[in-house]
Amino acid sequence: MTSPPQSLHRALGLSDDEFEDIQIVLGREPNHLELALFGVMWSEHCSYKSSRLHLRRLPTTGPHVLVGPGENAGVIDAGDGIAVAIRIESHNHPSAIEPYQGAATGVGGILRDVFTMGARPLAVMDPLFFGELSDARQRWLVEGVVSGISGYGNSVGVPTIGGELTFDDCYSSNPLVNVLCVGALPKERLVLGIASGVGNLAVLLGSRTGRDGIGGVSVLASAGFSGEDGAASIDDAKRPSVQVGDPYEEKRLIEACLALLDDGLVVGIQDLGGAGLVCATSETAARGGVGMDVDVTAVPLREPGMAPFEIMTSESQERMLAIITPENLEAVSALCEKWEVRATVVGRVVEPLTRSDGTSRGMLRIRHGFDGEVLAEVPASALADEAPLYDRPRERPATLVDILADDPTVDEPVGSPNDDLLELLVDPAWVYRQYDSQLFLNTVVGPGRDAALLRLAGPGLPNSTRGIALSTDSNPRWCALDPRIGTALTVIEGVANLACVGAKAKAVVNCLNFGNPEHPEVMWQLSESIDGMAEACVALELPVIGGNVSLYNESGGSDIDPTPVIGLLGVVDELVAAPPGWNWGSGDAIVLVGARRAHAERPFPLGGSRWATKRGRRGGVIEGVDHVALISTLDFVVAEIASICAGDVSDVTAVHDVSGGGLAGALAEMVAATGVGAEIMELDAHAELFSEFPGRFVMATSDVDAFQARADAAGVMTTRLGTSGGVQLRVGSMIELSVTQIASRRRDALEEALGALN
């Protein structure tokens, strides 16, 4: 902290205007420590200053929503006295620098968000985006990230039950690593991150504090990688001290915190994430409308000689802040000792400061010793809630006109459908095999199918025969063409995935991975994407209960394609039998459920499809869907599959939604999964094979008349496509492939690309 004061705020990432705002808030010049606190708390990462205005347009309420956005995690009432908490976050920039630890600490952070609410973390999902695997650095990133998630998630004892895996050049120097966590709690254990009760103590739990990631998440996630090759060339001085995850500490922390909550020993609890202690103390104080005194000298340190600003902003992992009454200190210490978790009183809740105008403000005071010198004194809410909000300029990219006009639906020549189909098949099993996906004995449908399906059960939960379903979806190819429609379709795809396991969608969380918000085109994409999500969620009556925004995903001045990741949580009311999955028998009728054609003049759109992208075609028009028809289709599929989950006898033998790879992709995946071929009718055009518009399902039935009669009664369109059986997949005169060819290609594609097959 030796730089001259006039440029210090800029070095801390604060603009001149922001510096002025700080002076107004304080009514004086901030000292260096105070400025550093504002620097991290008002960073893009912590304050959402570029996105918050837009996020307000999302629907966030519903009768079953217990906690909406703004808390550590969203929470819904899942029935039977059980609440379910869910949260998604990005750990993109840390993972670009140290893939193993970046991904590992991403998992650690998202778990803390969930058990902070009093929920036991029950499952993790990991949407991942990398550049093409022909590049050795990408292979290094993939292996590092996957082993980081595996290393941390398995060890901490939370199953990883699904995710996403996308390869595209736009991520080559800026991979995306998002992590979602879902947890469950007895409804009455719900706690919020609030400090209250003057005289109460703030106890720091968990690891010692080191110089990990100082200005790390916050500064790094709020500034792009300037070098040509992105992270690879980020200069050494800017490199934050990388955070290292300790799943063993986290495991003990989870058990200790849940036990503290069970025993009613805490008033409020908050995790330490980005911006560390300053964030946790100012947020809890601001929520409670109280002040807090923090003694920096009380914080257990891992390294000698740390300055107060380092202690306050360090992002050392595996730490929590509990607010407790002084009477409970002994009991808290004893419980923490059992779990070998360090517990240290570092702060006290104090009266808010009453100002001359009669209003009061809780002050965060950093002191050297509880009764020692005051090193910093700042209104807690100014740090936590009052960062300036920006309505940054927005502009539709000028290039979009040409991109939309370059529509592969119109002019891309037919290739060899057999070869094209084989090229599209990838089984992500190499990834999810590395994850414990079964712990807690809840996993009815694990990774590798449309959505994961879990029994709603866990240690300490009331008995229930319900299930919860989860899926994460994204489609940057669509969103590059039209972020509004693309995002709406992504929500629909997620809901369709849940339908395949019989679940009705109940809530959405989202992680908005975008480029540099100072580029008007990126702000336009972000704003449009939020509107598209809002439209789809309103149409489907889905509340958005949480999310995360990751900006500045760019390298060498080029932004990533807009990548909103949609996480969906659904509920199955009665789960006593597994849904049918992809495994049709021999001789079943194969039926397309839902509209066969997208639109009158563009029945089988190919813009943004994997097929077109593989051929280097990234243009074209995408269009929205008819919500009324869509909703009856979704309701029909949910009802059909839910009845199987409830143990009813059914003629339905298989179900899969049409998504990446189109109808041909869906058929091939089912063939690969069952080992039984299919004979499908001649389609209208090769485009019908590969068009990806969502809201359609391939289903198989042993009684096609009964099935179609039920669909008719529900007003749902069906098309009889053909019959399962044999050792080939044949689609009219277009596709003829053997089952083994399809299965082995799909099985080996990823490992071959990674060079993992010897």
């Binding site: 193993y100 630890q101 690891s207 990990d212 990388v242 290292v244 063993y248 500490e249």
Partner: protein, 86 residues
């Protein structure tokens, strides 16, 4: 010539070492006192064909930095070992 080279990979100063810390915490209960600052590291032993010791070490250093460690969190150093057969 064939040289026996050892590459030591250690965590950089300031980087958390949960493994070392966990081992250290366990020691008193096992009857070991007076042991502190435990750090866990990795090592790689190999035979390298080279014209001179210097060249062998150079090769090993390049290998250490490119493949055996991530310089963001680890330091790597190559040294000559005593025998050719590890």
């Amino acid at each position: 010539m064939n040289y026996f080279v050892i590459v030591d990979v250690t965590l950089r100063q300031g980087i958390a070492d949960p493994e070392g810390a966990t081992i250290e915490r366990a020691l008193p209960a096992l009857g070991f006192s007076g042991v502190s600052n435990v750090k866990a590291g990795k090592s790689f032993r190999m035979s390298i064909d080279a014209a001179s010791e210097e060249e062998a070490l150079e090769k090993a250093t390049a290998l250490a930095e490119r493949l055996l460690s991530n310089p963001v969190i680890e330091d790597a150093a190559a040294r000559l070992g005593e025998t050719v057969t590890p």
